[in-house]
Assembly symmetry: C2
Homo-oligomer: 314 residues x 2
């Protein structure tokens, strides 16, 4: 309690600024940025909320680029591929290259291909959207389900027999992520693959965020949408996205980063900040998204730095 | 382990029969039935699987009726109202009165009205099907959501703003049950009510069965379908159906039953058998549905009696 009281005093939320958790002294932007070569940014709740830019985020990214820092955008949102994400950055006026983006859809495809050595003749059953399909395609992985109209019906008359008799014996994994087309038919196919005694079917979640931030508020997230499969199949999935290790391991390795000189910036303690901590990089919580200062002690997850938003890092 | 070994020996699954768990002696039908005045039957997995009668179940019900026993059918399936359930019994040739049926949809409506004294000017937001709507109507409870086409869309372009701005201030409860029309729009409305800071919204699940048995196999059940709401809202719902107390309390009270002379027959340890045990009635597990003998020790739930199916009670 004493520790947190000191933290809040130093945080000075009425006149927002960065504070170092282990010291009541206020940090200046230059001092902070000088400590790092690479900044990893979460997107939703840090750069934007839904389709609206968070004021000052674009300018912050430009400022750190000018200071010669490497920037990487790390997102758990698996509804978009990197190409779709780049289009979103472009639309919002943030300059970015496709290779600077790491989404959980892409990371899931990479995980399947390189970590699981997913066989080329096997297929993934997708509970997800176009972005996840695109990233699987980019790694040459076959899939069914997803956006195929056959699996996106909404009807009171489910043909249960057709589902059980229509299973594809080549399905070797179910990959589930954010899916606004979620429906009982698709869930029933995925459940049937996961519980099939005839097939060895891996179970992968792109990420397990419980909520999904939009500019008008929160909505159920990937972790909520995939929970029917976890509950009904009683299986424990491999979760690729934040706060789990696979995605950060992939980034550090592929970009050859020094963890000591890398800062993870995010708005969620239990995804972004834990993610950085699991990978032994320093962490900065911005209060422009989901987590509040009250959540810090409640969740017992302590970021190294805190700021009201990117604009308030000065 | 010793206890269970004795149980399995006495169970003699190759020549199925009832065995009393605390004795290796095989029980005869007459001896068992004589102990009870009332038999509570689970339906799915006991009387039928999906739309197919389990052989001998109809004859067993007729036999106990002839022996002067009271029969009550208790089902967690909230997709049907009692009237819809009676139609199913009729179709399968099992003679039953509406008042002999207790479904979790009906029990949820009764729970709202009598236990929660749900105000007449408030509405329920329904994540469920026609049967749940009918039972709410039968108790004079207003509702929105459910089967209304407005809430049953499947589209990649969710209008998030329309959801948050379209909340009805009169909603005082979210009741979620089995819903094959489950979709992200409906879940987003339900989530928004559950997390609204402006309204006091109760959270009720008709039941939380993880799977739903059909003749061709298992599918995700009510507990799986409502899990996105539990995960995203981080709220603990009141669960009306088996194995929880509200439904059995309601039955014992309304029918003025003596628990000592009542037997609960079901196919699921963690719903039917626990349900009976919570209400201090004796329990009989039939192996014609979900639970297997191996599950008994695994789950640590010990029925008083066991039989391969109703036909094998002789």
């Amino acid at each position: 309690m004493l520790f947190l009281s000191r933290f809040f005093l130093s945080c000075d939320l009425q006149q927002p600024s960065i504070s170092e958790m282990h010291s009541p002294d206020l940090l200046q932007y230059d001092k902070l940025i000088d400590k790092f070569d690479t900044l990893l940014f979460d997107c939703d709740g840090v750069l934007w909320r839904g389709n609206e830019l968070i004021p000052g985020s674009k300018e912050f990214v430009e400022k750190v680029r000018k200071a010669g820092k490497q920037v990487i955008f790390v997102t758990n949102n698996a509804s978009n591929s990197r190409n779709q994400y780049k289009a979103k950055f472009d639309k919002l006026g943030i300059n970015v290259e496709r290779d600077e983006i790491f989404g959980s859809a892409y990371a899931s495809a990479v995980y399947l291909k390189y970590n699981l050595k997913f066989p080329a003749d096997k297929k993934v059953f997708v509970v997800g959207m176009k972005g996840l399909e695109e990233e699987l395609e980019s790694e040459g992985i076959q899939y069914i389900g997803g956006t195929d109209p056959k699996y996106n019906t909404i009807t009171p008359d489910i043909d249960f027999n057709a589902i059980k008799s229509g299973l594809d014996k080549d399905v070797g994994a179910v990959v589930a992520g954010f899916d606004v087309m979620l429906n009982y038919t698709k869930l029933s196919y995925a459940y049937s693959y996961l519980t099939s005694k005839e097939h060895d079917v891996k179970f992968i979640l792109t990420n397990d965020d419980s909520t999904f931030p939009q500019s008008c508020g929160l909505f159920p997230g990937s972790g909520a949408m995939s929970s029917p499969l976890v509950v009904s199949s009683k299986r424990k999935p491999t979760v690729v996205g934040k706060p789990n290790a696979p995605m950060l391991e992939c980034i550090l390795k592929q970009k050859q980063l020094n963890p000591d000189r890398t800062l993870m910036i995010g708005d969620r303690l239990n995804t972004d900040i834990s993610f950085g901590q699991h990978g032994n990089v320093k962490t900065l919580l911005v209060l422009s998204g989901v987590s509040t200062p009250e959540d810090i002690e409640k969740e017992g997850i302590y970021p190294d730095y805190i700021a009201r938003s990117l604009k308030h890092i000065r």
